[in-house]
Symmetry: D3
Subunit: 216 residues, 6 copies
Amino acid sequence: MSGIVVINPNSNPAVTAGFDEALGPLRRPGAPAIVCETLAEGPFGIETQAHVDGVAIPLARLVASRPEADAFVIACYSDPGLFVCREATAKPVFGIAECGLLTAMARGQRFGVIAIARRSIARHIRYMRQMGIIDRLANERPLDMSVAETASGEGALARMISVGTELRDRDGADVIVMGCAGMARHRRALEAALGVPVIDPVQAAVTMALGAVAFA
Amino acid sequence: MSGIVVINPNSNPAVTAGFDEALGPLRRPGAPAIVCETLAEGPFGIETQAHVDGVAIPLARLVASRPEADAFVIACYSDPGLFVCREATAKPVFGIAECGLLTAMARGQRFGVIAIARRSIARHIRYMRQMGIIDRLANERPLDMSVAETASGEGALARMISVGTELRDRDGADVIVMGCAGMARHRRALEAALGVPVIDPVQAAVTMALGAVAFA
Amino acid sequence: MSGIVVINPNSNPAVTAGFDEALGPLRRPGAPAIVCETLAEGPFGIETQAHVDGVAIPLARLVASRPEADAFVIACYSDPGLFVCREATAKPVFGIAECGLLTAMARGQRFGVIAIARRSIARHIRYMRQMGIIDRLANERPLDMSVAETASGEGALARMISVGTELRDRDGADVIVMGCAGMARHRRALEAALGVPVIDPVQAAVTMALGAVAFA
Amino acid sequence: MSGIVVINPNSNPAVTAGFDEALGPLRRPGAPAIVCETLAEGPFGIETQAHVDGVAIPLARLVASRPEADAFVIACYSDPGLFVCREATAKPVFGIAECGLLTAMARGQRFGVIAIARRSIARHIRYMRQMGIIDRLANERPLDMSVAETASGEGALARMISVGTELRDRDGADVIVMGCAGMARHRRALEAALGVPVIDPVQAAVTMALGAVAFA
Amino acid sequence: MSGIVVINPNSNPAVTAGFDEALGPLRRPGAPAIVCETLAEGPFGIETQAHVDGVAIPLARLVASRPEADAFVIACYSDPGLFVCREATAKPVFGIAECGLLTAMARGQRFGVIAIARRSIARHIRYMRQMGIIDRLANERPLDMSVAETASGEGALARMISVGTELRDRDGADVIVMGCAGMARHRRALEAALGVPVIDPVQAAVTMALGAVAFA
Amino acid sequence: MSGIVVINPNSNPAVTAGFDEALGPLRRPGAPAIVCETLAEGPFGIETQAHVDGVAIPLARLVASRPEADAFVIACYSDPGLFVCREATAKPVFGIAECGLLTAMARGQRFGVIAIARRSIARHIRYMRQMGIIDRLANERPLDMSVAETASGEGALARMISVGTELRDRDGADVIVMGCAGMARHRRALEAALGVPVIDPVQAAVTMALGAVAFA
């Protein structure tokens, strides 16, 4: 089936369902289809480097098995398997961390990143160096919450507002990147509370994929 | 009228018409409208720094006069007036140089830029330093053609292929950015000839604008 | 008339008079004349991006209308119109932000910048990235005062000393740049209080202009 | 068994035997043992991103299965699995690309890298950006030979001398890194021919591992 | 006499004796000898720029007078005379600051540096910029102790743990460099207390020298 | 005696006399005196790292022996002893390489440097990295002439024009720095031939010193 295949590298279908629903506004008659899938082989959450590296080859296999797709999005903020997936297909492959950060650079001068866990930050900073954009980083700060807590209601939003406020006021961020595939439901409220653009990385990546497909 | 307003800062309606037509694939029922306008006060081409700086305030005025618009795109590869337009509205404003380069960074490791004129290159390099992305630049090379020649037929394409081949083979670029708002008609043929992604910056910026509006 | 033309892009003659007087030590018999002018079209203060961009073309016109001048200085810490003025004349044109920062780099390892307003900082940081010198920035901190307050007496100096002390002790700055054309009267006292070099950007730029003219 | 475990991620035992023999000078009575192993699951050569990503988890498993080892070296110039291996053990884990480049930085001002294949260069450059050392890169140039050809006799050396000479004379490199685990036998001859230090990355990494173990 | 000559540029024999003893684990039968010397002309401590520059030529003379040596290490964290010593001999010369920092980059993503004195920090930062590695610096913080105090017992260690904890928790360092030649005795205890790798720069440099000699 | 003391670190009085004469345009009634001195202990030319490091302490002694001076300039393009001289006096001390490069950054976007000897280039590049300005370097190219040849007549100028043309046309430099204290006599002719600003570093540094003294 043609269109954009968005792959959740973890095996938690609730996460997939969450961003699937949030992508509604990009679904239009005649526009490329947007199909969200859950990687069967994925762990329940991508929390460690082993999780990141463990899904690379399964992702590439999944990508290679969809020759009719027009573009792919890897929907995990560590961009697992991004380069091997690009090797596995001639179609464009987008990573949500890469696209989230690049999109933020079109909205502000210095981005702040909200991470779920403190231990992911070193990996993310390494990735921003790899991207050659570290001079645009204001800071990355963790929620220090579990993924489950993050996906929940008001407590999660309150914590995001608190961390986002620090990024804005202490670190000088004028745009915020949500460092997780499962935070979309809080985007609008967070943006309203902070008064600066807030980027959901899945939405950013699927948008870029849509453009690549539209003009292919 | 709501939707995305794409402004051609030069007063050449043929350029506006060119990218207007090329944006067709993003126009879908229910999707944000995409309206292309020509800046009445603009010079016939944006070739000098005086042209760039001369349209900044007129662009901001135009932006401020469209309170019902959802997003704006400044469709000139020098991103004239980008920051003053952002001050003139609370809506997102995108520059095609910025978005073209950022989109290229999601498709390859080192981008090459095709400039029309040699004398624009120093300005572009200054801008890439400002964006903090200079480590991703493979090289920028000029066509050494007039804008009129560039917009024309096979001769222009042949020259683009020649310059693009140098960027790819001598400079190591694995993605190419077309450094002009009026090159869209050659994008597919250039990409086919070079075998690496070729980014049209108007398409890249309108895509990002579409995402910003869709998820607002 | 030959010599160095120093242009205050805002229309506040008190600011012009302030730096005019402070430039006395560079006026010597036989040395290039230093003439300070106020841009008639300028706003009363350069506080917004619209102010910055709005004076660019008027500045270029003024520069172009002085063919007999030997060099120009744009005396506003946002360096408005610097590049278009350079295009408008074959004579050297200096911006005070550029020259203030470069001069600081000859006096210390990491510079701190005192801004008047918090909202200018993002613009200044963008400019330091454009200059390719962001690795030398210790920090920029705002006075959070109006221009009028800054130009006044002891209260302004006390606030500058407070902000300068934070730049020196918390941020590690060993040289301070005054981020405004109207702070010259406080330079010596601030330097004495802080014990590190303090650079007035108008003085820095006129000095460089003097050299360019002397050796032309 | 205690000591340093050097793992060849490809399953070509000749490569393992080659660097095993070349490591002789670091084997001393009382010094940490140096044990070279071949990853059973590895492909015959690491040439693609799929090869790189495919060995990450097997490498981590191997590392985790050697609790008595004192340090590990991943002996492939793409540093496959480096970060997941570091997560799999509390012992130090070294990558030969990382150590080869860092060691070169202690011997010269700008390093040149000899790659086997042209298509690896983008990946290597991405990695040097990730390391934050791209300002020290003179250039990377490919041998455009197969791994088998590289490991062979005089033809390989002659080609290395040719490429190394270009790195030194055209690109300004004053130290050369051999971008492969299987080039050790040519190191001395290449260094003699070029007159600048030539770094074998396996030797560089095992040296660092030796120090880490000696002082643990 | 052949082997590695480690030179203490200050004339305090207790410092020399300290690292001489700490280098024991690298001394093995058949391995290159490691000979530690004290520079007779050195000041009692290297604390000022005059101290640093004053020992450069004496160090080069000492290096030139040992034609039979196989490699040299300059054992002062300011790397005095490193480049002139490299000119004075064809043998490899290593500086402990350079090697300590490079070795840290093989153990963590962002290094923190413990300086003895606050006034050395600007010099060290200048040096890290020179090395092109400033993007890997988390922070450098001073002990604010005298060298004598640093070399002593538990009080020094307690202060190092306190400063190291700030580097780890406030600044995000995941590896620590001891910014002095005389701290080796505290390395293990500091590493145990902090839970991240701690690099002694003399040990790092002599390790690299050992590798260079072993494979010469 | 008060004023600016310009020190030639080599003992060739012809070089001192050359820039002394060229500084005439900065000497004005009432302006700070400009006194040029030759370092007695200096070698006849500063060509090696040993020359650079060998004059550092003598320069600092000379600086310390002039308490009545208002500022100092070290007139050798390697900026020998710059930091130790700054420690030896509370007065400003300027290096001609530093000031030449910074002044170039106020005149163009990417500077090219003309070196006398090829072997100085690695040292100069290291210094530009230390200054944090390497992103502004277009290229540095050598004359491959002796200092004596450089100081001479038309042959030297012709070679400078040839190298400057390569810097401008191949490397994209839009401003040229003369990488030697003894090239002043060719500045105007070179600038006229190349059509881009040419910076003499002694003139740049003495200009900055003049400003520092005028406003002290």
